[in-house]
């Protein structure tokens, strides 16, 4: 109302007043314009300030939102980590019936053998020994293929079996169960297993440092003397040094005690062994062993072929075969890291005494068969060293020697031609080099100068491959 009046008043004034009044009105108009402009400016400033404030508030809100979402994603990541941590490792096991499949590995072996002597005629002079030395056929030869299967059976037992296949024959090398939960240092093994005597005896051939095993091992125990029976071992709780005591009992699997008549009650072989081992500093490790074995001779095939005689039969029956031995392993690696260089030394000594009734039959034409009481005390030893000089390359040297010891031929065996061993010391030198581009493949070149048979020197050359696939094998000492 005031406005209308002012306006009305202004119009009335403008109408009533003459030109002079007009100039006065212009000034006032200017004044009003200026005031309006000032008002506009002040409103502008205030609006701008408000707009700025709004913008800042919006930005702050946006920032708050982004840190909230960051916190959210961090929380969800943490939740994921916690979840996967609770579940275990990244690779989830397949939920299928085969999820409990055992560890399975296959070893492929073969090679090429060259020798100037026919391996089928080879023997070790002076030793009632194995029916066949462990020599391959000459030329290219597929060796053994070996499958090992193992797994925990349940909360108490572990099981493992090794089958070797060669030329249509499948051989059960080992098939045993082992306790996992007796505790107090005790382990019991049962079934068929390589005996824990010595060092080399329990090594499978694909783990050997040479293509073949030591001469004394071949002469007395065969490549791996095994027992069908039980083994009990105990490790002392000494922490700073390794002390193990063990005992085995059962039936011998094969040579040297194999018989055509396995059908007997009770134990036919028993062993005792003890090991002492440890570290010296960071770079050296060792193990000493001492052991003994006692076996009943049922009927033992013992082919002994002295020179000049062929195709006859010997058997040793009744009585006992006793063996005892010492073994030593030493390993060196700089700072205990075998990756680039390392050295391994093995030495074993064994003594065998046999007694029983020998039936020695070199053929009727020379007066056979001869039957009588027989005893023999013999021994043998070897030393071998292998030096790895590069991550992939190793070189090894080995010396074998057998001591014929003494025979005692009772009445009935006197005059048996060729039975008493000649004065001869079987010897052999071996050198090898092998290339292993990974833990799973090995290629070996080896030379043996074999003077274990009187009158001949057998120059033997071996080329060998050993490949493994499947589950990672164990690094045994």
């Amino acid at each position: 109302m005031l406005k209308r009046n002012v306006r009305a008043g202004a119009i009335a004034l403008a109408l009533v007043l003459p030109a002079g009044a007009h100039a006065q009105t212009s000034e006032q108009l200017e004044e009003i314009r200026k005031q309006i402009q000032d008002l506009k400016d002040s409103y502008d400033t205030r609006i701008k300030a408000l707009e700025n404030q709004l913008k800042q508030t919006e930005e702050a809100a946006a920032k708050a939102q982004s840190s909230a979402s960051q916190a959210q994603s961090a929380a969800s990541e943490a939740k994921q980590s916690a979840e996967s941590a609770a579940q275990g490792t990244g690779l989830k096991p397949p939920a299928s019936p085969s999820a409990f499949n055992p560890a399975l590995s296959l070893i492929l072996m073969g090679g090429y053998y060259n020798s100037n002597q026919d391996p089928n005629t080879r023997t070790i002079t002076g030793f009632l020994g194995p029916t066949q030395l462990g020599l391959p056929e000459r030329g290219f030869d597929l060796g053994e293929s070996e499958i090992t299967i193992s797994a925990n059976v349940d909360h108490l037992f572990y099981g493992q079996a090794t089958f070797s296949m060669e030329d249509g024959l499948i051989n059960t090398e080992e098939a045993f169960f082992q306790t996992t939960s007796i505790g107090h240092g005790f382990t019991v093994k049962g079934g068929r297993f390589f005996s824990g005597i010595g060092y080399e005896n329990s090594q499978h051939n694909h783990n050997w440092d040479f293509e073949d095993d030591a001469l004394v091992q071949q002469a007395f125990l065969g490549p791996n003397f095994g027992i069908d029976g039980l083994q009990a071992s105990w490790i002392a709780p000494l922490a700073s040094v390794y002390v193990e005591l063990g005992a085995e009992g059962g039936k011998p699997v094969e040579f040297p005690f194999d018989t055509s008549d396995h059908n007997t009650n009770g134990f036919q072989v028993g062993t005792l062994f003890a090991h002492l081992g440890g570290d010296i500093g960071v770079s050296n490790s060792y193990r000493f062993g001492v052991w003994g074995l006692n076996a009943k001779n049922q009927v033992t095939d013992a082919i002994y072929q002295p020179l000049g005689f062929t195709g006859f039969d010997n058997t040793l029956s009744g009585g006992n075969t006793k063996l005892w031995g010492l073994d030593f392993v030493y390993k060196w690696a700089p700072n205990g890291d075998p990756s680039y260089r390392n050295f391994k030394l093995v030495a074993e000594w064994m003594h065998r005494s046999q007694d029983g009734t020998l039936t020695y039959d070199p053929g009727a034409t020379v007066g056979g068969p001869f039957v009588g009481p027989f005893t023999a005390d013999q021994s043998g030893w070897f030393v071998q060293g292998v030096y790895q000089f590069h991550p992939y390359w190793r070189a090894g040297l080995r010396y074998d020697q057998l001591e014929e010891g003494s025979y005692s031929l009772g009445s009935g065996l006197g005059g048996a031609p060729g039975l008493a061993p000649p004065d001869f010391t079987p010897k052999r030198w071996t050198a090898m080099v092998d290339w292993s581009p990974s833990e799973f493949s090995r290629f070996r070149l080896q030379y043996n100068q074999d003077k274990s048979q009187q009158g001949i020197t057998d120059n033997q050359w071996f080329l060998q491959y050993i490949l493994s696939l499947g589950t990672h094998g164990a690094h045994k000492f």
Binding site: G88, T89, H184, S438
Partner: protein, 304 residues
């Protein structure tokens, strides 16, 4: 004589029980776990470490001394994820100790509590000696160490219930110090972000991932295979298109390949500790990270 014998047997009995009642015997496979066991276990644990930082954990053998130590262990503390598959199963199987069998409380595999990186989508040995469950060299991720520490404290409390409060106290102290240290390392190492490196084996992956350092190549042509001259020549060629600023190996490795490549592509090469004890400065978990980061920073900014 009778009195002497009974005194002797009494002493032996007391001595034996004294032995049993003392510390929790921890068999740690590697020095990082030994250090962590000392942090969390303190006076209540007696720690034996099976390997050193100068040994390749993939190549260890089940030697008698390890079996003897596992025989008396209450807790076996290893990485798992098949890092020790070549030797620990034999050590445990031969030890005659039922407490440390896999699955029992006395067997702790750190990798089970940590999200593993580089889980392979295809398992084949033609790709090298690949770790089937993922990269097990987890000691270089600070978050991993914390996760394992948490589980270790729980596990020690389970094995030794009387020490539960003690272990929790030590865990709390460790967690606080470790969190602070981790922040400090992240700040110190911002200069390393984006620095491209060539490694030897994948044993420092977690460190490079954490510090944001891309790995553009490795001296090994495939995991577990020694560097070959043809592969090293490939790396020299690669330097033109995808250059690395640094070659990083560990003090356990033979430096020949790294030194050759460094001379060829004019890029510095340094050696970090693989784990605790790998360098004089890496005395425990904290100083191991300190030492590694300071060596990386020194190489990134060489004195002019």
């Amino acid at each position: 004589m009778k009195n002497f014998l009974s005194l002797l047997s009494l002493t032996a009995l007391v001595g034996w029980s004294g032995l049993a009642a003392s510390a929790v015997n921890v068999f740690a496979c590697h020095p990082e776990w030994g250090a962590l066991a000392n942090e969390i276990g303190g006076d209540r644990v007696s720690v034996y470490v099976a390997t050193t930082a100068l040994q390749d954990p993939h190549k260890i053998q089940a030697r008698p001394s390890l079996i003897a130590r596992a025989r008396v262990a209450d807790l076996v503390f290893c990485t798992g994820a098949e890092l020790e598959v070549g030797w620990m199963p034999v050590v445990i199987g031969q030890s005659g100790n039922e407490k440390i069998v896999v699955g029992k409380p006395g067997n702790l595999e750190a990798a089970n509590y940590v999200p593993l990186k580089e889980v392979p989508t295809r398992l084949d040995r033609s790709l090298g000696d690949v770790h089937p469950l993922g990269n097990p060299h987890i000691q270089w991720g600070p978050q991993n160490i914390q996760l394992v520490a948490d589980e270790l404290a729980r596990r020690l409390a389970y094995i030794d219930p009387a020490g539960k409060a003690y272990y929790q106290g030590r865990l709390a102290s460790f967690t606080q110090r470790w969190t602070q240290a981790t922040k400090r390392w992240e700040q110190e190492a911002t200069a390393l972000k984006g620095l491209a490196v060539i490694e030897h084996h994948k044993e420092l992956t977690y460190l490079f991932d954490w510090l944001g350092m891309p790995v553009v190549g490795s001296l090994e042509p495939k995991p577990g295979v020694e560097p070959t001259s043809s592969h090293l020549s490939e790396l020299v060629d690669q330097q033109k298109t995808n250059p690395a600023k640094l070659i990083v190996i560990t003090t356990q490795k033979n430096p020949d390949a790294a030194e050759w490549l460094s001379a060829q592509i004019k890029v510095p090469e340094i050696a970090l500790p693989q784990t605790v004890g790998g360098t004089p400065g890496a005395k425990d978990l904290f100083s191991m990270y300190d030492d590694a980061i300071s060596r990386l920073l020194a190489a990134e900014k060489p004195k002019s």
